[in-house]
Symmetry: C2
Subunit: 223 residues, 2 copies
DNA sequence: CACCCTCTGTTGCATTTGACACATACTGAT
DNA sequence: ATCAGTATGTGTCAAATGCAACAGAGGGTG
């Protein structure tokens, strides 16, 4: 591991180390064989089909899990921010092969950790080991719930329903009717797996029908 | 827990108890406060919005996680068979609230287990406790991967692409080009979130175009 | 300012899809 | 055999969607 541990405050934001002191984290990072790596915007971090045995924690920047199919359609599967964990579900599953690409959406720094080091209690009695395993379980369960939530939007039959489903959840999550999206229009369309222009049309119709109001990426549910 | 433990062979098929002897399983079931329960076909096991702190292991029958929206559209999110675990990702996540309904698709028996009992090492030193935690992590990761796989089908823009994506994965999973589906047409449509009649038409077109061949629920990818 | 680039909305058109109705098996029960 | 019920495929039509092309609004840079 590198000498400069100035990323420790950021790593504390990760669910993996919840309830663990900075001092203990530093010890564990050695134990977990943690390695820091930088990525430029657009750079591929993991690519679909690849077999991995490390998971990455986002220290800075944003990362997208995305699918780029043969016909040129991009789909944003999920979006990862600082503290989020990348690739854990593949590295921890039996076959370990990625389905999607992980791409740096902005310049980003990641800290990579060997998953088997997390899964296997180490010899030097890391007392916090059990805590990280429990944290990982919670994190993984949360991620799976988010996938379920995304599926609930995707299972809607029309673009309008997909948008409402997504916006309602965002409103719920952000705790206000006035929702600020992190996506631009193209990204929102890629996230909901619909055509951008068709979505743009539908958004206008929904505004006219009094369902929503919006300006830029500030949305409000009104219906 | 009931006296008749004749379901132990079935429970051994669950990933949760992988690598644990029958004798140890019996002890752990007491420790986990396991309770068996029967459900009739069509009966709701968990319903959307409900908060849960138990997970269920399918001892017999089949269970669907499904979404039933206001407009009457059903979507089959996933299908659980004997040995599969139900509700774990909700029970283990922070908020613990279900998004979908879990419904018995056939008469079914489930064994319910307290998740916090699994998460907390017990006083009477269950040596196998760590194993179940690791197993649960693997199972959860595998489930999340399946959700990702499902998302990869759903993100396809056309019914034809959704079908091909799904069939290719099934072929891959079943290890043969001759795929036997567990779904009937309506269920397949509900799984891929498309209209049944439209899908039926598309299947015929795909057959005519030489992409696939099928009869009943036996499919073959030919293109 | 002129230029380039990106983002968003708009339009027209061809295709796909969903909804509904109905015909045709096939199944199981009586 | 008869009947009811279910599963599957077909036909028609309206609506939704994708696609391509373009216009206008910024935003940054030389």
């Amino acid at each position: 591991m590198q000498n400069n541990n100035n990323f420790i405050p950021n790593i504390k934001r990760s669910e993996l180390f919840a309830g663990i002191s900075e001092k203990d984290i530093q010890q564990m990072l050695v134990c977990f064989n943690a390695k820091k790596k930088k990525y430029c915007e657009g750079q591929v971090i993991f690519s679909g089909g690849e077999k991995i045995d490390q998971m990455g924690i986002v220290l800075s920047g944003r990362v997208y899990m995305e699918s780029n199919d043969i016909t040129g359609n991009k789909s944003i599967i999920r979006e990862l921010a600082v503290g989020d964990i990348l690739g854990d579900l593949y590295a921890l599953s039996r076959n370990g092969r990625l389905i999607f690409d992980a791409v740096a959406h902005e310049d980003a720094e990641l800290l990579f950790i060997d998953v088997d080091k997390v899964m296997t209690p180490c010899a030097k009695a890391c007392t916090r080991h059990l805590t990280t395993m429990k944290n990982l379980l919670t994190e993984l369960a949360g991620k799976a719930c988010n996938l379920d939530r995304k599926l609930s939007h995707m299972s809607m039959r029309t673009t309008r329903e997909k948008l409402m489903s997504y916006l309602r959840e965002e409103a719920n999550h952000q705790g206000t009717e006035n929702v600020t999206l992190k996506f631009n229009r193209q990204e929102l369309a890629d996230y909901l797996c619909v055509d951008r222009s068709a979505m743009s049309k539908e958004l206008q119709k929904m505004k006219k029908d009094g369902l929503i109001d919006f300006s830029g990426n500030k949305f409000k549910i009104t219906g």
